[in-house]
Symmetry: D2
Subunit: 250 residues, 4 copies
């Protein structure tokens, strides 16, 4: 079954591997007449890009987006928007070590069992780089939603045992620390905690919180297509996400 | 958008309101040759049925399932299986009080805004009775999965502050208390706790845990159709569910 | 793969066999607030019903429709509309002769190969009775389209070599002859031609023409979801239909 | 509604305009382990390419395909295959004349009404160049089907009044004349007929016939997903196609 397409009216199809020629997304169903340029998308790819702080993958990635279709004279035309991000230096590395064993916490074994062989150059389709297509499509969706008065505030709520203090919530702070936390003190503590984990060769989970404002009444449909259900599917389909709560949650 | 259909290969479509003529489900894509009779489904509808303990809705419901198609000489034929459960006494009640205000915690206001009017006889399509179609289809799905060696153990993990003790886990206990808890002592405590809540006119949340055994490697598809993502969507689409975790979760 | 569902926004799911308990359709996505009663649907089922003239299957069928959900106080609620038509006398017949061989021009062999066994009581799911669900759903769709100013004129254009003369087209004539032809002389000729065919134990094909008026500009979507393409799929999915033309056609 | 995706298990999403940066297709659900290289696809793009005879658009097109994902060490990986064909010289032309009026037989007016503006550089998404994505995906599908023993013979059956003589059918002849006809005499006649039409500034229709061999029993699903219905939808979604017949047809 083909699993790389999401959505019905605004429909995205992502493609690409971590070590292939590139990655991209086709966005079909975007309304015509929306002003759209590469910079609208690039700014989110730049935030997604690893190697920006000591806490993420040190690998350097350019991740420059190109719009190949669906935009004419600066506006969307209502036809599919094809976005491509070429991989750089995808050929040089020596994968002999990675090719000979299954890495824990990766989909290596699963891919081998499901497809009969695997792309041993890296995570391939199950690499974190797969989210490039989601981020690019999300940038376009966000532009539409913002025009409709729907806004998002998203931040790291907790890392391991370090939880942001709601009383200290400061939206301005979110983009001012490498961990995207809205509480400067928690960010400092989480930073120290992560350094200790990394020194031990360990990793740790956390929680991301997203506050959506300006929603009209009645979005979503009864029974199987509730908004809650589709948000849960979208978020749970991101690699490494293990839980989803809405409203008061658990 | 139509929201009452779920699934691609094994596809279910539910219908029916709490106070209409009946509720049901059409199951399309069930393999041919599966032995199936009404009792296979009825036993799960009987467990779903409220009014069996003092903790659930006291309303009496017969909830007798009828197979209208898709089964011939005791076996499925590969064509759609139509199941119907007729409502009893759906006409007699006086709804004048319910019709005049929106009930907190119900979808009354949302339905009115979305559709322009609402079925003031009760929750209608957003009533808990909507799950009858899911339970009936689930009984058929379970029979197929069991034949493939996939089994489910499902129980109440916690109610309010009362959490089952994993060391006292007893699968036999699950169906021996009205709260479906695998720990008899927790069940007794939760029962007392619920009685106190009900005396205060209050309600309380809880957690349900499901352990799935016998899964083959490679079920689900990369990116948007991961098994995690589709399970989350299915569970989060049940009314009143507010969170979903998989594996170690949060 | 489940094949009994059609449509995205207005989505129909049909079920039922020629010799089971009944047939029906679930219509999901019908707008709320449409006046709808059983008579709106029954009048089309009555036209569909065989045994009304000497040229169709002599079997008598009651085919009374029941609305089980989705309508409240005479108007649709926006939730699924479940329609059921119970089969009468579905148990008495002796099928021993039919059970022992594959009938030419039926799906008997195909069903046996695909599903491993077949419902030897008759065509089952591939019987002409399967169209009952389509006709019932079509009656609801027609009511919506008519309110939008879209109207349909449908008639038999030709039977075997007998073709209606466009210059003699008379819309009033369509429902006044058993063959639904808009040209009385052609209808008389076709009637004589069919009697001769039946005397020879032969069957013959024909063409149905449908003129749709009042269509707004821009219905359908570029590339794979063109209106032409979806009409062709819908019509070609009717048993025994072998060709489709639009506009000037061939 | 997004209309650029077709299929469920083998799912294709096409994108691109006649005068944009390029065109392409994402193929999702292709089985892993299929040998696939650019030449497998290029040979069909070369046949599709106009400017090869005096009867088709004189425009020169390179139409070189690039595989951007889904193939590793010469074999498909089971993940999406992204194919891109860059447009050449897409910027230089003067469109001022075309921009000022709607061309008959094109979708110019419809696009303007539906989307509020149009890409006046040419047909855009409704240009014949849109079929590039279909041909590229079709080349991959064909390779899979051929491995399963399913083969296709496709040719021009008629052009205007010139119909190939079935008794003179010669499969070898199909690729030896510019009109892909299996009857050399008919091809010569059709060629003369087309030259006369072109001298008059006129166009003419024709029929394409496709013979599929090696089909297993039972492909397709009952009711709405019959093989006939899906073939009809696929073919009728090609621009300028106005009719579809199967088996004996009309």
């Amino acid at each position: 079954m083909a699993g790389s397409t999401f959505g019905t009216i605004f429909k995205i199809t992502t493609w690409g591997e971590s070590h292939g020629a590139g990655l991209g997304v086709v966005i079909d169903g975007c309304p015509a007449g929306l002003y759209l340029c590469e910079e609208d998308i690039q700014k989110f790819l730049d935030r997604r890009k690893p190697g920006q702080s000591q806490f993420s993958t040190p690998r350097k990635e350019g991740d420059i987006v190109h719009i190949l279709s669906g935009v004419f004279e600066g506006k969307t035309t209502g036809t599919p928007i094809s976005l491509v991000i070429y991989n750089e230096n995808q050929r040089s590395k020596d994968y002999s070590e990675i090719a000979s064993f299954y890495r824990p916490g990766h989909a290596d074994y699963t891919f081998d069992m499901k497809y009969g062989f695997r792309d041993y150059r890296g995570g391939g389709r199950s690499s974190g780089r797969e989210t490039i297509g989601r981020v690019a499509a999300g940038a376009v969706a966000l532009k539409i939603l913002n025009q409709l008065g729907i806004t998002f505030t998203t931040y790291t709520k907790s890392i391991g045992p370090i939880v942001c203090d709601e009383r200290l919530f400061d939206a301005m702070q979110i983009n001012q620390n490498a961990l995207y936390m809205p509480d400067a003190e928690a960010a400092a503590n989480a930073s120290a905690y992560l350094e200790a984990c990394m020194a031990d060769g360990d990793s740790v989970g956390g929680m991301v919180e997203c506050v959506i404002s300006g929603m009209p009444v009645g979005i979503g449909d009864p029974v199987f297509e509730k908004l809650d259900a589709n948000l849960a599917k979208a978020i749970m389909s991101i690699g490494a996400v293990k839980g989803f709560e809405i409203g008061d949650g658990f």
